[in-house]
């Protein structure tokens, strides 16, 4: 590792931490400026945060495992409804429902994944669209008498931590962005683990990976289930933030938005996903005229991106690994 590299990476780290700090003080800055619309903008940031969580979990499936999954709203819905039902019918506290929401979404994904995991790209896309529709129809038809039919469930409690109840948008801002940072840490760790390296190999060349002894079906299955479980966690956050869940919140359009975020930002890259969330969820709020035309523009953007930059705005950096000692001496160190 050379000295200049070290300095630039230390400076980079410092800048990253500073910008995180600056970002986290936005609610405080906005209210200090005395803006009347401060709660609104904090709410917009909360929305972006929620979608970042979801898009990061989709990124594991779509970006890292390379599976064309368009049914993420289904797992998000399972998580949100699990939280709503446990809280309303059984009086569980919100944070206690979170692990159950993750398990429920992961379980549904595990059941579905078995038969569909081997389907080729575009077929998988169609099947997962079908799954979202089935889930939405099931929720609308008040399945098991639990989901409240078309109007959904309302009156979900607010989350509280050590007796402190989250009520204002800026309370949720810290809660949601804490969850985003947690997601970033989790998925970063996963990416660099044995699991993440296996996925990278499978995406590059599935046949070669299989030949090297990587169980491709197992790793794809795991990516699908873990991604779905984290969407379930995001479902809990969604349910307690809006305090209501209804089938229309989890339609095909939501899946399209998530898919667009990952593809546009750069599938497989966490920075790309973060940028994608800000663009897709934030821009329509800034350019209001844009609001009713936003899907029109997403659609056109997807076509244009595929023609000119199919890898997304910030594609993942190619992985670099240090050579083991004997080779490093002979060929020079290739790692950073």
């Amino acid at each position: 590792m050379s000295a200049s590299n070290f300095q630039s990476s230390a400076l980079g780290k410092l800048l990253t931490y500073l910008s995180i700090l600056l970002f986290l003080s936005i609610p405080w800055l906005l209210s200090a400026l005395g803006l009347e619309s401060a709660p609104y903008w904090v709410d917009v940031l909360n929305n972006i945060g929620l979608y970042t969580m979801l898009a990061l979990s989709l990124n594991l499936i779509l970006g890292q495992a390379g599976m064309f999954h368009m049914g993420h709203a289904a797992f998000f819905a399972v998580g949100a409804y699990t939280t709503a039902i446990l809280n309303l019918n059984h009086g569980w506290s919100i944070m206690a429902t979170m692990p159950v929401a993750a398990l429920a979404a992961g379980f549904v994904a595990a059941v579905l994944a078995g038969p569909i995991i081997h389907l080729r790209g575009d077929y998988l896309l169609i099947v997962t669209i079908g799954i979202v529709e089935i889930v939405r129809i099931a929720l609308t038809n008040d399945i098991f008498g639990l989901t409240g039919g078309p109007s959904g469930l309302f009156g979900i409690a607010r989350p509280s931590f050590f007796g402190f109840k989250l009520t204002k948008p800026h309370h949720f801002f810290y809660f949601i962005w804490f969850m985003v940072i947690l997601s970033l840490i989790l998925f970063n760790w996963l990416e660099n683990s044995r699991f993440g390296r296996a996925l990278k190999f499978i995406k590059e060349d599935a046949v070669a990976a299989e030949n090297m002894g990587i169980n491709t079906t197992f790793y794809k299955f795991l990516a699908f289930v873990v991604g779905a479980a984290w969407a379930g966690v995001a479902g809990t956050v969604f349910a307690c933030r809006l305090r209501t869940v209804s089938p229309e919140s989890f339609n095909f359009g939501e899946s399209v938005v998530l898919f667009t975020i990952v593809i546009l930002g750069g599938s497989g890259s966490q920075k790309g996903v973060l940028l994608g969330s800000f663009l897709v969820m934030g821009l329509p709020q800034i350019l209001r005229d844009f609001q009713d035309k936003r899907f029109l523009i997403f659609g056109a953007a997807l076509v244009v991106m595929m023609i000119f930059r199919p890898q997304g705005l910030i594609p993942p950096k190619p992985a670099r690994f240090c050579l083991p000692e004997p080779w490093a001496e002979r060929y020079g160190s290739k790692g950073d």
Binding site: F68, P115, I116, L119, G121, D122, Y123, L125, I126, V127, I129, G130, I131, E133, I134, I137, A138, T140, N141, F252, V256, F259, I263, D292, K293, F295, L296, F298, G299, A300, A301, L302, V303, M305, M306, I307, P310
Partner: protein, 301 residues
Amino acid sequence: MDFFFQQLSNGLTVGGIYALIALGYTMVYGVMKLINFAHGELFALGAYIGYSLLVTMNLGGRLGPPMAIALTIIMVASLVALAGHLLERAAYRPLSHSDRLSAVVSALGASIFLQNAIMIKWGAQYRAYGADLLPNVIVNLFGQNVPLIRILVFLFAVVVMTALYAFIHRTKLGLAIRAAAIDQGAAKLMGVDVRRVIAVVFIIGPALGGLAGLLVGLYYGQINFIMGQLYGLKAFTAAIIGGIGNIPGAMIGGLLLGLIEALGAAYVSVAWKDALTFVVLILILVFRPTGLLPERVAEKL
């Protein structure tokens, strides 16, 4: 028995419409191995162009219903065909050399774009076709009362499909389409202009899909901008049931799906009707992905 017959005739009518849309999916898939996600929106576009001609411009009042319908059929088919051609030029041709999944995402983007373009142009609310366009007559068929419109819609679908079948099997261009579907590379070597074949497929498929949209408007009397999504998925299911890439398969798959849906809604549950289609789709893809009539790969001519 009477109830059963009503469901049967309804199922066949809807099935005919599904089959017309399914043909567009299956023809494009046969030649390009691409699911044209925007096909459902082209179908909706056909329904809305029909609405503009028949309701906004009141062709029925000016020309009399038979002339108006005939003119509308021609206009819808040619305008949607033009839209399909432009779509192919803008969203698919530039990607003919990139990897398949980029083309899939591009198709999806085109679909989202078209759906919202329709919404911005014609509005998000339901639009009603006039009720007085087709005579509201009940005819007696095999001792059962059937609305005339069901018979007309079904017959129209059958005539169009027969014409298409004859075109594919009796003309030189039809032969080129079949050749390109079997092996693009070999077809090119034999002097088939595959680019032209793709262009033709993107004209015929959308024209049929647009006509199906017009039929839905006339049959149900109302249309909305997201209908392309649902009908598109259903017609795609029909194409898969019949074996995607196979033209007679799409016709049979469409009729079969129409029947499954009508009978399922009647005897199982109306609320779960749409879910039933998707369950069928998933089951077919998982257990018999080649469909009922798989595409014949090595066909000796």
